[in-house]
């Protein structure tokens, strides 16, 4: 089962890290085990996306009809689906879709949202009012409804689903970055920078941006987890990648038909999604604490 296979890897990883680190040993020891575990989980998922063939030799798309709906065994760690495809292989190969989707979503939200917040807070006046009221409008539309509408406008597909998820997170990024920038802008050192002759853009770039980004980055890590969840949601509803793409949400949706006879088809990808999201949340919390 998934938990067994992943704990094997987990048990090895930190040991290897300790041995290699040497002088870093003392520093690592101070890290919380939960945080280390989270980083390890994220590292494994990234490895799945980068080099899936290292983890599973089965073909994720082409099934073997004679081996359909087999329960988890040593041969098929997480069992097989109705077309005889190995579920573990499909989860491993699906990582790249979920991760790129989440990455695109967070990038869209981070760049567009943070720029809007930054401009609003630093220009102020009517520009700020206009931008922030627009953001309020975005916030007032239920997230899922907004995502579905955007996908219908843009067309189906992994990237479009990711963009839709990203657009719904713009509002949160804009609000957070605006409040941070407003806080930093009021500080003495920003005024001192203007006082020592800084132009508007120079001060913005040199002082305001670096000092207000910490919590925005922590929020981006948090958003990474929820983006995976939202992309899976869209996949489940059929708005994401089309079958036979092994996208995680789609896996759960497909497994739903066999929930009474083949529980592993929904449970395993579900657990993987939950664990990845939890790991991203844990990492985000540690980033937020750094300052």
């Amino acid at each position: 089962m998934s938990s067994i296979s992943s704990t094997d890897i987990l048990a090895e990883k930190p040991v290897a890290a300790f041995a290699a680190a040497g002088p870093l040993l003392a520093r690592l020891r101070r890290l919380q085990p939960g945080l280390v575990l989270s980083w390890v989980i994220v590292a494994i998922v990234v490895l799945w996306a980068v080099a899936p063939q290292l983890f599973s030799t089965y073909n994720p798309v082409q099934g073997v009809p004679t081996e359909k709906l087999q329960a988890p065994s040593l041969l098929h760690l997480l069992g097989t689906d109705a077309l005889g495809r190995d579920l573990f292989a499909r989860i491993v190969h699906g990582a790249v879709h979920s991760l790129t989707g989440a990455f695109v979503a967070v990038t869209v939200g981070l760049i567009v949202g943070t720029s809007l917040g930054l401009v609003a807070a630093s220009v102020g006046g009517i520009v700020e009012d206009a931008i922030m009221r627009l953001i309020d409008v975005l916030l007032s539309i239920p997230g899922l409804l907004l995502m579905l509408s955007i996908i219908i406008l843009l067309g189906f597909g992994t990237v479009n689903a990711a963009i839709a998820v990203g657009i719904t997170s713009i509002a949160a990024f804009a609000r957070l970055s605006r409040s941070e920038v407003v806080r930093v802008r009021r500080s003495d050192y920003v005024e001192a920078a203007f006082g020592s002759g800084g132009t508007f853009l120079a001060v913005l770039w040199r002082h305001v941006l670096p000092n207000s980004l910490t919590s925005v980055l922590a929020f981006a890590a948090l958003q990474f987890g929820s983006a995976i969840l939202q992309i899976s949601t869209l996949g489940f509803l059929g708005y994401g990648a089309p079958p036979p793409t092994p996208e995680w949400g789609l896996l759960i949706a497909e497994g739903r038909n066999y929930i009474s006879t083949a529980w592993w088809l929904t449970t395993a990808p579900g657990i993987v999604v939950v664990i990845t999201v939890l790991a991203a949340n844990r990492i985000s919390r540690s980033l937020g604490k750094v300052r």
């Binding site: 003495d188 050192y189 920078a193 020592s196 002759g197 800084g198 132009t199």
Partner: protein, 535 residues
């Protein structure tokens, strides 16, 4: 009869990242009933830690390693928090440092004063209410019935400190620990609060352990003084003899550095760098509009002029309009009316890049060196930045200039790559001064630039400013609430009250023959004068 409080060989340590380091070493002193003992030292000297240990309120990572704390002969240093609760408030009470953050903002004053009575067993709510009113009246609050119904934000800083004192004396404790009770308050308020503590002590024979960084305050109020440095006692003694003839090196230095106690008179007149005025302010008025209400006039008709190469001081309490005036002078604010000229240029006419160019000639040093430096820049980067903004010097010339200036303000090379977080308050203020000077300005505006610093560091910075002025012919506009400092370093002074200028003239004139009652009150409130009278 044993001493009321005796601290014997106290050792306190704090743990940080698995290692413990000691901050109080082998401290012993006693407090007799009805006596005022002052713990004096700069920040980091362990004075607050010692006081916290006495009342069992050390921070979570703090621990008493050795020693005994005896209250009426009973050893209390190993007591549990629960057991200490029985004596806290009843036998020992605390007046905290910062009145603005020490009251619960969502409870009325009456409820908070009544709380200590209820905690210690008073059940009759009528009796509690009556006693609360009595206490509030006792600490000199006008209209105590109204105050009891008000919330902390409706009271001024001095009034809040009175409320905290009311809480501290509610159960007539034998010992009051006053941890910098007046540091956050204006001088005139400070004097009234200290007078109040004195009166209460005289009436009920309460002993006071006064923690302060201000030797002037200790000189005025204490019977005995304990001087601490780096967690060790440097000197203990009767206040008068300690101040008259300090034995230890450190006590001598503290005494020399305390502006309020220094015997030095006014400084010698500056050789004027020119005959013209570096700053001219005429009829300055600044209104702030408050949403939904009429506008508020922060500065109302302030006029002064400063000759090139001299120091002009703006003096007043908080809310007097000093900072607003200064912001208009450096061009960060826009005056509602009046004229500000810097070296002959009227800054009200300047806009955009002209205003930016003017800022080369007038630089501001902020009150708080902890917030005026970007936490992400290195010391070198902070000082280099103004040069990047205005000049196109090649990198090596720029570096030479920055290094020269950092050396001039006394920052060793080992600190240049550090970030502000790794510097002390005094070092940070030196960085801020270097940043202000790197463009060779004509005028330096110092907004309470030494108020946040310990006396010894303050004396060093003032000396540095004095040297720089002499070498570079700088003009200073020095804002302060501390008249003792102003007396030391300024040539001329303006006194502000509620945005109006109540007095203006040379320092000698104003200090020797104050024309307004307010100036006289300010001068009388300088601590440390009682000991002068004695000496």
């Amino acid at each position: 009869m044993a001493a009321l409080l005796s601290v014997e060989n106290l050792v306190v340590s704090y743990s940080e990242n698995d290692n413990r380091h000691r901050v109080v070493h082998d401290v012993s002193f006693t407090v007799e009933p009805g006596e005022v003992v002052a713990l004096v030292g700069e920040s980091g000297s362990g004075k607050t830690t010692t006081a916290q240990a006495v009342i069992g309120l050390l921070a979570e990572n703090g621990r008493i390693e050795q020693g005994a704390i005896r209250l009426n002969g009973e050893e209390i240093s190993r007591w549990s928090g629960k057991r200490l609760d029985t004596i806290r408030g009843r036998q020992i009470s605390l007046i905290p440092q910062d009145p603005t953050s020490s009251l619960n903002p969502v409870k009325t004053i009456g409820a908070q004063v009544g709380e200590i009575l209820r905690i210690h067993g008073e059940r009759d709510s009528k009796a509690v209410d009556a006693r609360v009113i009595e206490l509030l009246a006792r600490v000199g609050l006008s209209d105590p019935e109204l105050r009891a119904r008000q919330y902390p934000h409706e009271l001024s800083g001095g009034m809040k400190q009175r409320v905290l004192i009311a809480i501290a004396i509610a159960l007539k404790p034998q010992l009051i620990i006053a941890d910098e009770p007046t540091s956050a308050l204006d001088v005139t308020v400070q004097r009234r609060i200290l007078d109040l503590i004195d009166d209460l002590r005289r009436e009920s024979g309460t002993a006071v352990l006064l923690v302060t960084h201000d030797l002037g305050v200790a000189a005025d109020r204490a019977d005995r003084i304990v001087v601490l440095q780096h967690g060790r006692i440097q000197e203990t003694g009767d206040a008068r003899s300690l101040l008259g003839a300090p034995q230890s090196e450190y006590a001598r230095q503290l005494l020399a550095d305390a502006p309020s106690l220094s015997k030095a008179g006014f400084r010698a007149a500056r050789p004027q760098a020119g005959n013209d005025n570096a700053i001219v302010v005429e009829g300055l008025v600044q209104d702030f509009s408050i949403e939904g209400r009429s506008s508020f006039r922060a500065v109302d008709g302030v006029s002064f002029s400063v000759r090139r190469g001299t120091t002009h001081a703006l003096v007043g309490e908080s809310g007097s309009g000093k900072t607003t005036t200064v912001r208009d002078v450096v061009g960060l604010g826009r005056p509602t009316a009046g004229r500000v000229e810097i070296g002959g240029t009227d800054i009200a006419t300047l806009k955009g890049d002209d205003l930016r160019q003017l800022r080369r000639r007038i630089q501001l040093v902020y009150q708080n060196p902890f917030s005026s430096l970007d936490p992400r820049q290195t010391v070198f980067g902070i000082v280099e930045e103004p040069l990047l903004n205005y000049t196109r010097l090649p990198a090596f010339e720029r570096a030479a200039k920055v290094l020269g200036l950092l050396g001039r303000v006394g920052l060793p090379e080992s600190l240049h790559r550090r970030r502000p977080r790794a510097l002390s308050g005094g070092q940070r203020q030196r960085v801020a001064i270097a940043r202000a000077l790197v463009l060779d300005p004509e005028v330096l505006v110092l907004d309470e630039a030494v108020s946040a610093l310990d006396v010894t560091v303050q004396a060093q910075i003032l000396k540095l400013l004095d040297e720089l002025q002499r070498e570079l012919g700088l003009t200073y506009l020095f804002v302060s609430h501390d008249l003792a400092v102003v007396r030391q370093i300024s040539d001329t002074v303006s006194v502000l009250q509620n945005g109006r200028q109540v007095e203006s003239g040379t320092v000698e004139q104003v200090f020797a023959h104050p024309q307004s009652a307010y100036t006289r009150e300010l001068i009388d409130a300088i601590p440390g004068q009682r000991s002068h009278a004695v000496a």
